[in-house]
């Protein structure tokens, strides 16, 4: 069991999500930075999609009541076990009764606390992911609170824990320049606005969470905002309401929308979006669909190189 002594700002149980419920209006949810979740699980010898704790900006304090291997990945948060500093992105054996204390992140938003055996909550619709708006999945469908007690699964005989070189970690590190393909309504923006979108910086506002990230920068209103019929929207869609300020739809996204979409974040850069924090300056860069798929393949082959 893991006893939550202090839950941080917003800590939820996440795995790789539950796609397939779009017709019910339910977005897939899942880890905001799935690369970090998968790496953390590999470090402790779990299957890559095993449920772990996703911590937001501030980690928290957790008492491990059974002996486990832990690893903390994602945004670097200063961590200690029984007062001794823990190296980020390394597996560590922890004795029963030990307290893991995880501080705040200085760069990036989300860290993952992975434990051997994983967080064992009853799957809902095939996934342990918490979906905060509907209160489904995860631990009672909500962010963790002080006093919660989370069961840990039996150690998986999946593979021995691995270690990751600094060079490999650097190649998979989150980007501040987000690559995008053209959105379905890209043509509803002037050439000038499409150019401004990729040549001027956008700042992440305080309204940035698992549902979406509101950005602030050069206004790029579309020419036909009022006439669109609501349609399905993809993860990472960059929609532009009449204010002209872009919004990136994220893992707990609305499933349909009526604002024109200038762009869509490429799959390979979605984990980076999960590490953008309020105040961050981000830039966009156009790539073709072919390039986007090639970048994803490259990222996956890097992952295959380190995962068991």
């Amino acid at each position: 069991m893991i006893l939550v002594e202090s839950p941080g700002l917003q800590t939820t149980v996440q795995d790789l999500g539950r796609p397939g419920y779009g017709p019910q209006g339910i977005s897939a949810s899942g880890a905001a930075d799935p690369l970090s979740l998968r790496i953390g699980n590999a470090l402790v010898g779990n299957r890559e999609g095993t449920a772990a704790l996703e911590m937001t900006l501030v980690g928290g304090r957790y008492r491990l009541q059974t002996p486990v291997v832990i690893a903390i990945t994602g945004a670097a948060m200063a961590a200690k076990v029984e007062g001794a500093p823990v190296e980020h992105g390394r597996a560590l054996d922890v004795a029963a009764g030990a307290v893991v204390e995880i501080g705040s992140s200085k760069d990036g938003v989300r860290s993952y606390l992975c434990v051997s055996g994983g967080i064992q909550v009853a799957p809902f619709l095939g996934s342990a992911s918490t979906h905060l708006l509907t209160g489904i999945g995860g631990f009672e469908g909500r962010a963790l609170r002080k006093g919660d007690s989370l069961p840990v699964g039996p150690r998986q005989k999946h593979a021995p824990p691995i270690s990751i070189s600094r060079e490999m970690a650097a190649r998979l590190a989150p980007r501040k320049c987000i690559r995008v393909t053209h959105g379905l309504q890209s043509d509803c923006f002037t050439d000038e606005h499409r150019a401004l979108f990729v040549t001027t910086p956008y700042c992440v506002t305080q309204e940035a969470n698992r549902m979406g990230l509101r950005l602030e920068g050069t206004a790029i209103p579309s020419t036909t905002a009022a006439t669109m019929i609501t349609e399905g929207v993809a993860l990472g869609a960059v929609q532009v309401p009449s204010s002209g300020q872009p919004i990136i739809l994220f893992v707990e996204q609305q499933t349909t929308g009526g604002y024109p979409k200038i762009a869509n974040v490429i799959a390979a850069d979605l984990p980076s979006v999960g590490q953008l924090r309020p105040g961050d300056e981000t830039r966009f860069e156009w790539v073709s669909i072919e390039t986007a798929v090639a970048l994803l393949r490259e990222q996956e082959s890097l992952m295959r190189g380190i995962l068991p």
């Binding site: 397939g20 209006g25 897939a28 959105g183 349609e231 399905g232 499933t255 349909t256 974040v265 490429i266």
Partner: protein
């Protein structure tokens, strides 16, 4: 009717089945959605049906836009000739007006009607759930009597209580969760629109026919 395809992202494709909101396009969306659900396409992870389109999401490591496109066309050819199964009728009890429907009087005066007449019109129509989207269990209902069509509020409310029944343009619907919202609120239902422990979780599903039934405060 030939579906039109457009890449929405490196892992999704928008299939357009018409250009406007009508019962015909809705039937096509429903037919294609059911066909893709009953005969899954390899690599496809999810679909998002809407008024006249279906967004198809796939794993780009397992498939391509072209392969998904071909598989959709194959299913569309079969689906467009098949007859649709009978749809359910869902009755939704509503307490109209007062604190449950703070915009009822405004909607009435915007159209020169009495509040009572608005309720009568709203609760006598039969609606079709064009799709469920935006948030879980939010059914977009088509079939609002034209004399009730009212634009959204110019400033959305920061929070709309769950169960609120609203009007936005020619659509009506029920907020399943307390969320921000700009629809004109005319009433509220005591029913849970979303219940994770119920099958189906969403009280209203795509294709359902819906009726609103006026109930008194104490019902």
């Amino acid at each position: 009717m030939i579906p039109q395809f457009a890449a929405a992202s490196d892992r999704s494709l928008l299939v357009s089945l018409g250009s406007g909101i009508s019962l015909d396009t809705h039937r096509r969306v429903l037919a294609l959605s059911r066909a893709v659900q009953t005969d899954p396409i390899p690599g496809v992870l999810n679909i998002h049906p809407a008024y006249c389109s279906v967004l198809v999401v796939f794993d780009p490591l397992l498939s391509t836009h072209d392969a998904v496109c071909a598989a959709v066309i194959e299913r569309w050819d079969r689906a467009s000739h098949a007859s649709l199964p009978e749809t359910r009728v869902v009755e939704v009890p509503v307490r109209y007006g007062g604190s449950d429907g703070p915009d009822l009087d405004d909607v009435a005066s915007a159209h020169g009607l009495t509040a009572d007449r608005v309720v009568e019109l709203h609760s006598s129509a039969q609606y079709v759930a064009a799709f469920v989207g935006f948030v879980p269990a939010f059914a977009y209902l088509a079939g609002l009597p034209p004399e009730l069509a009212t634009p959204r509020l110019s400033t959305p409310r920061p929070s709309v209580p769950a169960g609120s029944v609203g009007i936005a343009g020619a659509q009506t619907g029920v907020y399943p969760f307390a969320t921000p919202g700009g629809w004109r609120l005319i009433g509220r239902t005591p029913l849970l629109m979303f219940d994770a422990s119920r099958t189906p979780m969403s009280l209203i599903e795509i294709g359902d026919r819906v009726r609103f039934v006026r109930v008194s405060e104490h019902a």
